[in-house]
């Protein structure tokens, strides 16, 4: 019943799957991105970390894919919310790429 209400009021749904190279990085992204609340009451969002869809048992790997499900009342609200998420995600990935401890250590070692 509750789920049906959710689908009625928030019919526009988009799920973003972001695969990370390690479970640690997936967890860092989750920690950084889930803190800020969605600003609009017309948008709901859930974060989970799990293996890639349909790939549950193939690798035996830890969970390293970030799943973000967005639900909104209109497609316009959905687009605004997902765009904003992608901008933050891009920043998080860029910070990982250039400022993670192993990256800095490798650079210090090579110079």
């Amino acid at each position: 019943m509750a789920a049906a209400m959710e689908t009625d009021q928030f019919p526009c749904v988009l799920t973003v799957q972001v695969p990370f190279p390690t479970a640690r990085l997936a967890s860092v992204a989750l920690q950084s991105l889930q803190v800020d609340k969605e600003l609009s009451p017309l948008v709901r969002r859930t974060f989970t970390i799990s293996p890639p869809a349909g790939d549950a048992n193939t690798t035996g790997d830890q969970d390293k894919t970030l799943h973000v499900e967005y639900r909104a009342t209109t497609n316009r609200m959905l687009r605004v919310a997902v765009n904003s998420f992608m901008e933050s995600l891009n920043l998080v990935i860029e910070v990982m790429e250039h400022l993670d401890a192993d990256v800095l250590a490798a650079e210090a070692h090579s110079t």
């Binding site: 860092v28 901008e87 910070v95 250039h98």
Partner: protein, 375 residues
């Protein structure tokens, strides 16, 4: 005990600032290792919008952070730093959040504590450290804030403040009216135009003749310990519109009416500064008399205005005291002020858990428990 190190990330307005600072709790010595800043400047006549400013901070975060680490000589921040400090508020929502997202990522990658810092407290602690003023009355003046503050019993208490817009916002928006550039920052450019009210330049541009600047008619709006700037901005904008009418009339070969004052950009900028700074000096002096302090510390971006420092100095000298001010490296928003205030809080055991590491546009100076001061 060895000194502790912190990285500070500031992005509450149009400056992205990241820096490394160290503090030794046993000797209470502070050292700046790096202070890197990148400013988003919008074209003349426009202000910075939250969305564009947030995009600027995201685009430059990595390069500014790497430069801050490199300049500080840190290669293993996960071991070398004690905490990552970020601006929790007050400020513009989108730029604050963009910087907080990156600060959280750094803290999570490096396994460090996060410390959310009140921007105003950052300015005060930085000003106290740089100038050595132990317990001053603080005038905090910037594009977003205008407050007269004094310390009592582990709080920075607000004695007076603006009732509407900040004094820096008043000056910045008037700069837009006159199409004065925003680079390096509008208040500085207004100050330079105001200086030109003291002389005239001959048509061949070779000789300068001294002149008395004209104090035009603008309202003066002090209400008790508080100030109001929006009406002054409105009146200054009207004067600027009148000046443009005069420009058009004269260009068309016309003449001003008998006894009509010719308005100039230089006199307008001069007048605006004189009026709003006089208001700030008045409420600051009243706060000094109330708390019995002879020191006044000026912080925030407007605090680097030399005319404001001069007027404040005259007042303080008359009271047998002195004014403490810093230059643009520390007055204008920067990362190390956030790092310093955050590190002082961290040393007292303060932490911001990840799930609570949000930002807030409204965060009053007196909400923060100043646990590190015991006087």
């Amino acid at each position: 005990m060895a000194p502790l190190y912190a990285l500070g990330c500031e992005g509450s307005a149009n400056k992205l600032g990241i820096g490394v600072i160290s503090h030794d709790p046993t000797t209470n010595t502070t050292r700046i290792l790096s202070n890197v800043r990148h400013t988003f400047n919008s074209p003349p006549g426009t202000g910075f919008l939250p969305k564009d400013t947030a995009a600027h901070h995201r685009a430059h975060f990595v390069s500014v952070a790497r430069e801050a680490l490199r300049a500080a000589g840190l290669t293993d921040p996960a071991r070398e730093l004690s905490c990552i400090c970020y601006t929790r508020g007050p400020g513009m929502g989108a730029p604050l959040t963009s910087t907080a997202v990156a600060a959280r990522t750094l803290a999570a990658l490096w396994g460090l504590d996060l410390v959310g810092v009140n921007h105003c407290v950052g300015h005060i602690e930085m000003g106290r450290f740089i100038t050595g003023a132990a317990n001053p009355v603080v005038l905090y003046v910037s594009g977003g804030n205008t407050q007269v503050i004094a310390y009592a019993e582990q709080r920075y208490r607000i004695f007076g403040e603006t009732l509407d817009i900040a004094v820096g916002n008043c000056i910045d928006r008037f700069a837009r009216t006159l199409q004065i550039p925003n680079d390096p920052f509008p208040g500085y450019n207004v100050e330079q135009v105001a200086k030109k009210a003291f002389y005239t330049v001959a048509a061949d541009r070779t000789t300068k003749t001294p002149r008395d600047p004209v104090l035009l008619d603008l309202p003066y709006a002090v209400k008790g310990m508080d100030c109001s700037f929006s009406g002054i901005l409105g009146a200054a904008d009207l004067q600027a519109a009148q000046m443009q009418k005069q420009d058009a009339l004269l260009a068309a070969g016309g003449a001003l009416k008998e006894g009509e004052q010719r308005i100039t950009r230089e006199d307008l900028c001069f007048t605006l500064q004189e009026v709003v700074f006089a208001m700030l000096v008045e409420i600051t002096e009243r706060a000094m008399a109330h708390v019995g302090s002879k020191q006044v510390l000026v912080v925030g971006g407007v605090g680097c205005n030399e005319r404001l420092q001069e007027m404040m100095g005259l007042m303080a000298r008359d009271r047998g005291g002195s004014v403490y001010a810093t230059d643009e490296r520390f007055c204008i928003d920067n990362g190390i002020m956030i790092g310093l205030a955050g590190l002082l809080a961290w040393e007292t055991g303060f932490r911001t858990p990840f799930e609570e590491s949000t930002c807030t546009q409204r965060f009053r100076t007196d909400e923060v428990h100043i646990k590190w001061r015991t006087d």
